[in-house]
Every structure is written in structure tokens, then in C-alpha cells.
């Protein structure tokens, strides 16, 4: 079998999701048996337009990003969005809660209007081009990434959970964060992370985005039950759930 030619491209992000791939450690050699990286800025200096799979990390925040992304899409047979910034807009979408001009002035001060610093409200990758596969999470779950790569290599559609983090959290037999009076986004957030945060004693931040059909309307009642308000919930959702499409 010929190896899949893979190119990594990063946009607005911390590049931490790519870093997760190096965290495969010795398994990275297994990965390289299946794929041939032709462009991977963090790992190698080569560049190439000849690839089957484009892996996009980061969100789209500038007009030139959009052009570059569209060109990549043209070139790629398969396009994978890697990590929250790419799949939902992630933390970068916090910006969308404010006026762009205010954001620019806050960040760049007197240079705010310099043309090379121009920016627009953050978009997830699938708000610009068609995405074939999403590897959710901040950072990604490397086990899920590996599973998706193996699925592609044997020609099968990977099954990405469309159920909530509660499923995996219950399997781990964690004490529910709601029992501690915390608001946890687990019930409306897509599983696939092995409930990493609740298993470490933290509420779910919702980094993997909503399940396909989240019952957001129910949230208000539920918040009231726990003596909280919808604003408390919105506050929790701001970090990853800002202006999230669902």
C-alpha cells in the first residue's frame, strides 16, 4: 500500500495539537509507516504542494488566511481540522464577543490600523471550506487522532462520538462535578476525550464543541435547579463555546 502524503498547515493557534502528535513518542514510527509527511513546519523544513491529506490546525482570522486555506483545499483530497481552534474556532472565538476595532486597539494599541495586522471575526475551518474529518479538543486526544489515521489507512469512516462527555465520565466512575455545585459542560459537550478534565477533578470546559443536537434550551431549567443562572452557564461556555455554531 502506498503511504498517504500528509501536509500540516497552521493558522491562528498555539500549535499545541501538533505537539500532541510528537507525544506519540515511539508510536510516531508506526504512524510514519502509514503516512509520509511532505510539509510539517514543526518537524521538518520541506514544503510541498503534492499531498493527499491536509491537516489544518488553527482558526481563520484574516482575509489572507482564507485565501491560503481555500488553495490548500483545492490541493487536498482529504482535509482534516485538527484541534478546537480549527473545529469550532476554539478560544480564538472569544474575540467575536467584541467589536473588531476594539480588539485590534486593545491588542496592538497605536499600531491597530497597520494593514499587516488586519483581522476579522474568527471562523472555524468549516466556516470557510469543506472539512472531511474533525479531530476535536484542546488539545486533541492523541488516541483519537491515531484512530482516525488508522481508519483512513484501512478505508473506513471513523466514528466520532455524537454523545456527551457524561458517557465517558460515567464509565470512569467519576464523582459528578454537579455534586460539588460546579457547572460542568459535560452534558452538552461531544465525548472522545475520555473525560480527561472531570477525571482530573475539573469541570468540562467544552473544548470539543457541542454534540450535534445539544439541548441548550434545557440548560436554563437545569441551572435554576442548581441555584445558578443562565449567565453562569454562558460564562463557562465563553472560553470554548463563544459564538459556536450548532
Amino acid at each position: 500500500m502506498s503511504k498517504l502524503k500528509v501536509a500540516f498547515f497552521d493558522f491562528a493557534c498555539c500549535e499545541g495539537c501538533q505537539l500532541q502528535i510528537y507525544n506519540l513518542e515511539e508510536e510516531i514510527l508506526d504512524l510514519l509507516e502509514l503516512v509520509e509527511p511532505v510539509e510539517w513546519r514543526e518537524a521538518m523544513s520541506d514544503q510541498s504542494d503534492d499531498y493527499d491529506v491536509a491537516i489544518i490546525e488553527g482558526s481563520i482570522t484574516r482575509i489572507e488566511d482564507e485565501k491560503r486555506l481555500k488553495a490548500i483545499r483545492e490541493n487536498a483530497k482529504i482535509l482534516i481540522a485538527l484541534g478546537s481552534c480549527a473545529t469550532t474556532g476554539g478560544v480564538n472565538k472569544l474575540k467575536n464577543n467584541f467589536e473588531v476595532q476594539d480588539v485590534k486597539e486593545y491588542v496592538y494599541g497605536k499600531d491597530a490600523d497597520m494593514p499587516h495586522l488586519d483581522t476579522y471575526p474568527t471562523k472555524a475551518v468549516n466556516e470557510v471550506v469543506k472539512v472531511n474529518y474533525m479531530v476535536h479538543g484542546c488539545p486533541i486526544n492523541i488516541k483519537e487522532f491515531s484512530y482516525i489515521v488508522r481508519c483512513l489507512a484501512i478505508g473506513k469512516e471513523p466514528k466520532i462520538p455524537d454523545y456527551s462527555v457524561c458517557v465517558e465520565c460515567k464509565m470512569k466512575e467519576n464523582v459528578c462535578r454537579f455534586e460539588y455545585g460546579e457547572i460542568c459542560l459535560g452534558p452538552i459537550t461531544r465525548a472522545g476525550c475520555d473525560a480527561k478534565c472531570p477525571s482530573s477533578g475539573m469541570w468540562c470546559f467544552g473544548c470539543r464543541g457541542f454534540v450535534d443536537n445539544p439541548n441548550v434550551n434545557a440548560a436554563e431549567d437545569v441551572m435554576a435547579e442548581y441555584g445558578k443562572t443562565l449567565d453562569d452557564l454562558r460564562g463557562k461556555m465563553l472560553l470554548f463555546g463563544s459564538k459556536q455554531e450548532y
Binding site: I154, G155, K156, E157
Partner: protein, 279 residues
Amino acid sequence: MYKCDSKKDIYLPLPATVGKVQPMTKYESFFSCQLDSGEELGHMPGQFVEVSIPGIGEAPISVSSSPTRKGSFEMVIRKVGNVSKALHGLAAGDKLFIRGPFGTSFPVDEAMKGKDIIFVCGGIGIVPVRSAIQYVLDNRDDYGRVIILFGAKTPHDRLFIEELDKWREEKNVTFLETVDHRDENWSGPEGVITTLLPLVKVDKDNTVAVVCGPPIMYKFVIIVLLEAGLREDQIYLSLERNMKCGVGKCGHCQISNIYVCQDGPVFRFSDITDIEEAL
């Protein structure tokens, strides 16, 4: 606790080999297979098997051939999920893995014997019913009149084209077919399958109806059959659900108190009229 001498693993698929693969339509391909053990599959018409491709998964597939035709068993696979897509990549000589047969069958040796039979098949619904049609034709003297009605969406969606022609020409078989939407090459009738029913006379007291097709078809066909004077216990149909384990454990195919994989896929209509989620 429950002791059982059997160490048989109900989840263990057995190897089989593809004898022949033949594309039928854009989405459907025909497979003929043989168990590597050399044994017959041992199914009855209407039953299904769980087909595995290691690494890809397992899917429930109707057996489309009659047990009267020995040596191999046949399936028609529509490309819809991982397993069916992978099956489409197989060629003669390739391996696949089988569990089963599972479920209930059309009552070819019981209720249908000695009766007139009307087969009503919509689209891919012909796949499981073909097994019963072949069985009946191979034991032709055991049954009264045989009527086969077949409806496809378009002429391109017709399955078993050569066999349809054979049935059409068969002396003691009434065969009618229609397409929902015709094209330039189709000179036959156009219209949904229920338009064929008034064209045949059924002896209402002495007929068994076998119905299989997409969920939407059942409601309409059953109304017409009941209007023609058939009783609910003269109608048999095959239901589709997510039959994941095939052995009544995993829960996916449950509708009300029945497991489609065990209590079905073939049901007598009178047995499920009170079951809310069935149709």
C-alpha cells in the same frame, strides 16, 4: 446461576469465501459466498446473517438465495456504511466472515403451504423476498397461485434483472412490475407499487401476502391488501432495524417488547399491529 455446557461464542464469525461478485446498480452488488467449513449456511428464507470484515466491523445482511439452491448462499449489498463499502471492495476468492443465520423466516413450510402467494417487493425489499420466491418456485406444487409484484424507483434501480425476466416468463407465475419514475428506455408501467395491486385478483381467503420494502411502503401496501379482503394474519413482512449483535442482547434493534433480530425480521402483521414503533 445459569450453567451451559456450550462453550460456543455467539460473537465469533466463521470464515467464508466470495465465489462471485457482480455489480447490480450504482449502489448494489451481488455476492455469492460459501462457508469455508464446506457446510451449508442452514438458513430459511427471510433470515439474515451478520457479515464481518475484520477491522471494519459487522453488519446485518439478508440472505437472498433459497436454501433449496445448495452449495452457496447469496446476498445483495447496498453501499451505505463502512462494512458494506468494504464488501464492495471484495473480489472472488476473498474472505469474509459470517455469523448466523439469525431471526425468523417467511413461513414457506407452514402458513404459506397450499395457499396462493402474493409477493409485494419495493426496491431493495426484493432481496430477502427473493429467497422465499425461489423456495416457492423450487417447490412449486406445494403452493397455489404465485403472484410477484415488484416496484423500483427508476429502471436503473431494478435488481436481479435477468431473474425478473425469468419470473415474467414463468408459466404459472403472475409477474408485474412498475417504476416510480420512468425514463426513455422503460416501456413498462409507471407508478408506485400499490398501483399494481388492483391489477391482480386475489382469492382473499386463500392468499398469503409477503411484503418487503422501505418503511414508507408498508403503510400503503397493507391498506390496499386489507381493502382487498386479506386479514391481518395473512400478511407477513420483514422489518429493518439496527441488528447489531443478532442474538437479542445488545438492545439496538428493540421495538417495544420485541427484538427484531430474534422475533423478526419477518413478522406476521397481526402480531405487530399493536406495537407502536413497528411501522
